[in-house]
Symmetry: C2
Subunit: 283 residues, 2 copies
């Protein structure tokens, strides 16, 4: 029984869900210009629920799609180990989708639409996107950036430029990171017929393309202070992230090996988090 | 030549230095109640310089002390590989200390004193602290918490209660994390005669003690909103971190293995960062 319950918890990957909820809260907070009303606060919390449940549904559907591969590579996962049955995983995913979309509908019609689009994107990735290389990377990056946009969307119906820049930078840097991950997974991906950048064009090209995305994100980071969207605090903090992105890009191009790419993909996550802290402190 | 320059960069571990600078900026930002004057801003940036250089000096001294061990275990590090000579590392550390303390003196007499104390603590850890188990863990946690305090110290001469709670929570959760790391490194530590909690009392006890520190940190997180030190935004964000700490504690106690401890020490870092984001958003 305990193994079954643990299986249901493990298959939804609650930590990913927490991250998605966190992103909704951060997106909402960045957009707010005054103390929110209790009603708005409630909507934002519903947004966090939507993010958590839809993330859980995507993760479950992802494991459902990977069942055959995981039976060989990851026999301890909830599905191949038998802790969760295949049909149970689909019921779980359906329930999570219903809760998530209901919470989104209680927020507004438009947020429900955005939630639905995000769900379609993440399921598309799970079903087919992984094999497609760059388009798949874009799908993942969309799913990383969308909860921030979603949080902002709950607060305002207009466009928040600060959040637009922030989401764009998250999208770009995460795409670079996904390409870098392709260098780490190259041998496994090759044997599974995944057409990632690293598999199709080689490690060196992947490292270069990833670095272009990182540098693009760095270049965009200059805009918010120039446009006066952020306070002076943004500058020293984003400088740390930017130096990090540039050092990591140089290191990756110089030595696009599996070992080095693995180290750098973790560092990139750190620079992304510091970039987020820059926006938080620069509000 | 390139190898030598890279060696000098690698030995100071610039990423750790960036983290320390980031913490000073975050500590200052959390303490500020109004837009800082140019003079204050300059002092805060000097604080970031102090953090970066003194961190670099500690890292270099640490590698100097570990030279004999690294010759066997980590032959590629700057000192054992010969990229940086032993005497050069001491000159480098001295120069970094002079720059760091000078920057601190330009800030104020009191910050210079705090910088000096922190340096003594981190060097104590490098020279002897590592072998001592819990006292060594406390030294590391002090060095993790102190840059936040330092940043706040630059801004105000009085005590900032919010920052006090924040630093205390950082101290407690990092101590738990250090104990967890002891479970990961148990076999290596045993053979090097390190008297960590895991070596002396076993994995199970270490897991339990680490969890007590995590839960203590969670309990302290209730205080800031009750005392009205933070806004309502603190609550949902810190809730994510708190749930994470509790889930990780349960997982660690249930299975205090090397593999599991390794996974959990990374998760703990994530919860710590989310806790910091909670303070940032709750300002």
């Amino acid at each position: 029984m305990k193994r079954r319950i643990l299986g249901f918890i493990r298959i939804i990957r609650p930590i990913n869900g927490f991250m998605m909820s966190l992103a909704v809260l951060v997106g909402a907070w960045l957009t707010l210009s005054e103390t929110p009303s209790p009603l708005l606060l409630q909507k934002i919390l519903l947004g966090a629920v939507t993010a958590f449940t839809l993330s859980g549904a995507s993760m479950t559907i992802n494991d459902y799609c990977d069942y055959e591969i995981d039976r060989i590579n990851e026999p301890n996962r909830p599905l191949p180990s038998g802790a969760v049955k295949l049909e149970e995983s689909l019921i779980l995913a359906s329930m999570l989708i219903i809760i998530g979309l209901a919470a989104a509908l209680f927020t507004s019609m438009w947020t429900a639409l955005l939630a639905l689009v995000s769900l379609v994107f993440s399921v598309t990735y799970a079903v087919r996107g992984k094999r497609t290389g760059l388009p798949g990377n874009f799908l993942v990056s969309f799913c990383v950036a969308v909860p921030f946009i979603y949080g902002g969307f709950i607060v305002t119906n207009g466009f928040d430029y600060k959040l637009l820049f922030f989401s764009l930078m998250a999208f770009l840097s995460n795409t670079g990171r996904e390409i870098t991950k392709g260098i780490v997974d190259i041998s496994g991906d090759k044997s599974h017929n995944m057409r990632t950048i690293a598999v199709v064009y080689g490690e060196r090209f992947a490292a270069l393309l990833a670095s272009i995305f990182f540098v693009a994100s760095v270049l965009f980071s200059i805009a918010p202070p120039i446009l006066g969207l952020v306070s002076v605090w943004f500058i020293p903090l984003v400088a740390i992230a930017d130096i990090g992105f540039i050092i990591s890009s140089i290191a990756l191009i110089q030595k696009p090996t599996r070992q080095n790419a693995k180290r750098i993909k973790n560092l990139i996550l750190l620079w992304m988090m510091i970039g987020m802290i820059a926006f938080l402190a620069g509000k």
